[in-house]
Amino acid sequence: MNKKLLALALPLLAAVAVIAQPTVGERAYEISLPDVKGAIQKLSDHKGKVVLIDFWASWCGPCRKANPALSAIYTKYKDKGFEIFGVSIDDEKKAWRKAIQADGISWKQVNGQGGWEAPVALAWKLEQIPASYLIDQQGRVIAIDPTKEDIENHLKNLLK
């Protein structure tokens, strides 16, 4: 009887899990979106690296302000197995490209056009930006909205 109930409940739970924000310990949802050149970039292509998923937009002041600090961490750890996967929800690709140039962003950048209604924003249940997720080499979430100190501490532990 219990097993039957469980069998019924499991698919339901799985359906619920897909529409919630991933929590620490859970596997990050796949992201597959075009980069500046229009080539599809997948989050899963970076398996084996520690990845910071950074949701932002060109019009988001606080997001832009955080870019210099991200740049510093990126420069320090990019050759040691760290990647940043920037996901913009800009509607205007031109504004997005301009912001990438202005902020000197050299990490992976993809665009999920459509603002809060963009499929990627809905899938990740994005409520605000900036929002970031640090995921380990296996693609599991290890920190949500980490500070730059948090990121460095995790990197020091994971990239020995």
């Binding site: 937009a57 988001c60 809060w116 605000q128």
Partner: protein, 181 residues
Amino acid sequence: MKKILMIAVAVCSTLFATAQFKTGTLQAAGLTCAMCTKAINETLKELPFVQTVKADIKNSQFVIQFKDGANVDPDALKKAVEDAGFSIAKLKLAANFENVKVDNDSHVKIAGKTYHFLDTRSQLLNGEKTITFVDKNFVLVKDFKKYAAKTEMACVQTGKAETCCTKEGAKENARIYHVTI
């Protein structure tokens, strides 16, 4: 009979000033970036008279489309923004007016609500016009002070009918919206 009805309708529509709100633009202020959260979008969308809410990034404002014939409630818009953790910095509503006569620093009853026009020249409103709300907590504090200085009537401070207004027939404590055009 039909003719009489048509005449009656025509007479009524000239006698009663009406306005149907169609769209609104709203700017929000707060400690964090108002456009960077989905919260305002969501609380506005939950209002029964709101059809759609779109973010106009370039002008840092929300564009609201109201449902046809719905009873638009500016106080409910304010509460929705406050529930999201922000306050209104600017609210403009566009309406279709029919024979609405407005004068400076005086009250006008439009579609069941009382409006107090400030910094406004006397005019007859017809067609689509946009009014800007200047009540306390519908504008930035400095703008509120600027408009509040334009009237001697006490209702501007409370947004409610005070003794000054009751002699015009407004019920005491009835909501009075302060606007400009």
